[in-house]
């Protein structure tokens, strides 16, 4: 708990300093708008990151196809809406593709590499990503599209700022999911099993943990998160399969911020990355490279993580 | 002499080694104990893979002042529970891999490698690729790597793992003959008590990270506390 509080202070401090540095001469409500927009995108980085970390901890697979899965989900949802399917049903069906695709990979393909190093498993997931991206690009033409939710038009006023409901939803979802998943990992039986699996796979099977069942749950849950993130990226960023597929990269950045293990840190890091990226728009020097923020931050986190490590042993995690 | 002084290693709340001290003077000495006792941890400390309180002094040199990869040049050699032969390289190249990092001319190294191959009896297979070796050949190659050059301290962690009774006996004979080659002292971890009895003059017994006995092997093995640790027999309180 103390670590979380300390990290929260660090992230919040960093963001505050940058907000002041970049926005001190701008009207407060303009600054606020940038921050809100950044929080929304950051929540998506965090959600993707959470899916990646939960899955990685439980299965050892860092699923680089997360973005591609999200792209399929949102394109299906969009297409169903185009075909006249009732909107909420279309979204649900699109969303369902998340866990379906993830679990299909997790039960069908991943087990054949279960004994390989994490790096190899991550590289293999790239194969899945390309298959999905290729299929989606093939099935849908390159035309510009928009994915819209009714919540885009509605807005609430918070602290004098007009916040679209979609953005509010996304931030709330990220926070609630981190709390919920952390609680579930801590208090439920399945959560305990998942943590055991993450800690030591071989030992877990020896003491009778139903590995396949726990892993399937992890794949399905992460797939759901990836699907949801894909839908929201389609709404808030751009509905373009190639773009959404490679938004997995800033999600990986958020996962790194959490050191591939701490969900609260993934959330804080992701939010901070989104906000900082957004705030950089206010700087003339940096606005053209603002999307680089998550990567620079992730690199710095890695630098901190590697300090004080004298040695490394490849192979067993 | 190998002097271990108050080695203490903690992993979070777990104490893997608890002020373990021992001074080995015999040419070949053993470290035994139940699983998880801290035997490999001790070797990892000497190798420099773990930070530890206390000190490791060998023939006057404080090993902890050297970085792990420098200890090889000083004269430390190590084999692991699983043999570590590079599949990509031939037997000879595997020995070159360690010779590369020692001092001496190329001719000297070539001679050292030839001696090591000869001693372990694997000269005939020296161009065989690592991937094609069987378990015994791999163990012999590991041993050859350990005696290349003029080592001062050779640590063998379960060197007979996966070997048959005959192969173990042959390996034991080789290990016993190592001190005769040069100035090396040997430390052996193994679960095979017969092997330890045969080749180790002194033995350290660990349990739960603590030293529970140290001294001449026969005496140590007859110690009731050691028997209790291994066999779970209650030590009778006088």
């Amino acid at each position: 708990m103390r670590d979380i509080a300390r990290n929260l202070a660090l992230w919040a401090g960093l963001v505050t300093v940058l907000a002041l540095a970049l926005g001190h001469d701008k009207p407060l409500n303009v600054l606020g708008l940038f921050i809100v927009s950044g929080l929304a995108v950051g929540s998506l980085y965090a959600l993707g990151g959470i899916g990646l970390v939960v899955l990685y901890r439980a299965t050892g697979v860092l699923n680089l196809a997360a973005g591609a899965i999200g792209a399929v989900a949102v394109m299906v949802a969009w297409q169903l809406v185009q075909w006249g399917v009732v909107a909420p049903l279309a979204w649900a069906l699109g969303l369902a593709f998340g866990p379906i695709l993830a679990t299909a990979y997790g039960r069908g393909i991943a087990p054949r590499m279960a004994w390989r190093e994490p790096v190899v498993k991550a590289v293999a997931s790239l194969g899945f990503a390309f298959v999905l991206l290729g299929l989606v690009s093939f099935l849908w033409s390159d035309d510009p599209r928009k994915f819209e939710l009714p919540t885009d038009k509605a807005a609430v006023v918070i602290l004098g700022l007009r916040v679209t409901v979609t953005r509010l939803l996304v931030v709330a979802a990220a926070i609630l999911l981190v709390i919920g998943i952390s609680a579930a990992l801590d208090r439920t039986r399945v959560g305990l099993q998942m943590r055991a699996l993450a800690n030591n796979r071989r030992l877990s099977s020896l003491i009778g943990i139903p590995i396949t069942r726990v892993e399937t749950l992890a794949w399905a849950l992460s797939g759901l998160l990836f699907g949801f993130t894909g839908l929201m990226f389609g709404d808030l960023v751009r509905l373009e399969p190639a773009v959404i597929t490679f938004l997995v990269i800033p999600c990986v950045a958020a996962a790194i911020a959490g050191r591939l293990q701490s969900l609260p840190d993934v959330l804080m890091g992701g939010l901070a990355m989104g906000v900082i990226e957004s705030l950089l728009t206010l700087s003339d020097t940096f606005k053209s490279v603002r999307p680089i923020a998550p990567f620079v931050i992730a690199a710095l986190v890695l630098l901190l993580m590697s300090r004080g490590r004298r040695l490394t042993f490849a192979g067993e995690d | 002499m190998i002097a271990l002084e108050s080695l203490t290693v903690r992993f979070g709340g777990l104490v893997a080694l608890d002020t373990v001290s021992a001074s080995f003077t015999a040419p070949v000495s053993g470290i035994i104990g139940p699983n998880g006792a801290g035997k490999t941890t001790t070797m990892n400390v000497i190798s420099g893979f773990l930070t530890s309180a206390g000190s490791v002094t060998v023939d006057g040199t404080d090993l902890m002042r050297l970085a792990p990869h420098q200890r090889s040049r000083w004269g430390l050699r190590r084999s692991f529970q699983r043999e570590q032969i590079a599949d990509d390289l031939t037997v000879e190249e595997n020995l070159w891999a360690i010779a590369d990092n020692l001092s001496g001319s190329r001719a000297e190294k070539r001679a050292n490698i030839a001696t090591a191959l000869e001693f372990t009896g694997i000269t005939a297979i020296r161009t065989k690729p690592g991937a094609a070796l069987n378990t015994f050949e791999r163990r012999l190659c590991d041993l050859a790597r350990c005696i290349t050059g003029d080592p001062r301290l050779i640590m063998l962690d379960e060197p007979a793992g996966g070997l048959t009774v005959e192969e173990t006996a042959r390996l034991g004979g080789l290990i016993g003959a190592i001190p005769g080659l040069g100035r090396a002292q040997v430390l052996v971890i193994d679960h095979d008590v017969d092997l330890i009895q045969r080749i180790c003059a002194e033995t350290l017994v660990l349990d739960f990270g603590r030293r529970i006995a140290f001294g001449p092997t026969a005496a140590v093995l007859a110690d009731p506390a050691v028997k209790a640790a291994y066999l779970g027999i209650e030590v009778e309180h006088a």
């Binding site: 990269i249 990567f295 690199a299 004298r310 | 692991f80 590079a86």
Partner: protein, 323 residues
Amino acid sequence: MQITRSGLVGLILAALAILVLPMLAGGQWLKIFTSTTAFALAAMGAGFMYARLGMVSLAQVGLMGIGGWVTLRLNHAFNLPFEANLLIGAAMTSVLGMILALPALRMRGLYLALITLMVAGGLEIIFTAYQFPNGGDGFWGVGTSFSATMRRPFLGQTDAGFLRYALVVALLGFLLIEGHRRSASGRAWALIRRSEAAALASGVNVTLYKTWAFGLSGLLAGLGGGVLAGSLGLLDASTFRASESVLLFALVVVGGARFWLGAVITAVLYRVAPGLLNNWGVDADLALVFFGAALLHAVITAPDGLAGQIFGLFSKEAAHDRA
């Protein structure tokens, strides 16, 4: 120095290619083959690092971009010969790569892959924002409508001559790696691959060797980028997107990271296949599906890639055939 059978085949093919290919190919194909050679250089760099050390670089095309950028900028800023621009570009790519990878080199292999992913993403943004030098002023060297000439090497002025030049550079790059592999470096790499602990226990300075391997990989990427710059005269940011780096690595695994033939297959699949498929009426997107499936297949069943399977047909010792 003994040459393996496949090595001999490779050298003969290389000699043939250098002598004959530029004469046979015409027009567009000269430039396509030159690009392919550039990507083969990069593939070699990423390939040896993965095959020999298990290190994954998902930023290799991005690093090519650095090499290309430096080569172009030097070309427009000074009057040095092409060789100087090329080598300085390659050296700077190498150094920059090592600096960026350094934090991850002391951690588990997965982190290196992830940090290279971050680097690829970052480079994409920088190239998109600042474009490539075209003879303009300032540090970035981008002017509105300039297109200053790219000076080619003395021995490679024409497209055909430059293809020959590029092939020679590729051969030299390969020999550089092979030279390392047969020496103490290669033995240290093999030990590191087996177990970093065992390598340390054998006196290998693991971090140093891993860093230098990454530097070598970056050097080849930089050479590839410089060759691209020399061939095309002007580079475009879209060539060096993160997705391109990721795709190239996927194809490195498919082609066979271990072998020179693998690098050739990789480059051909990467550079030539999509265009060919288009010509034959097949949607290039399906090529992506095929590549993804091929990667999964390679990881699961054929770790030595297509090259490994080809060599396996000719020799029952393919697994140990090291060229």
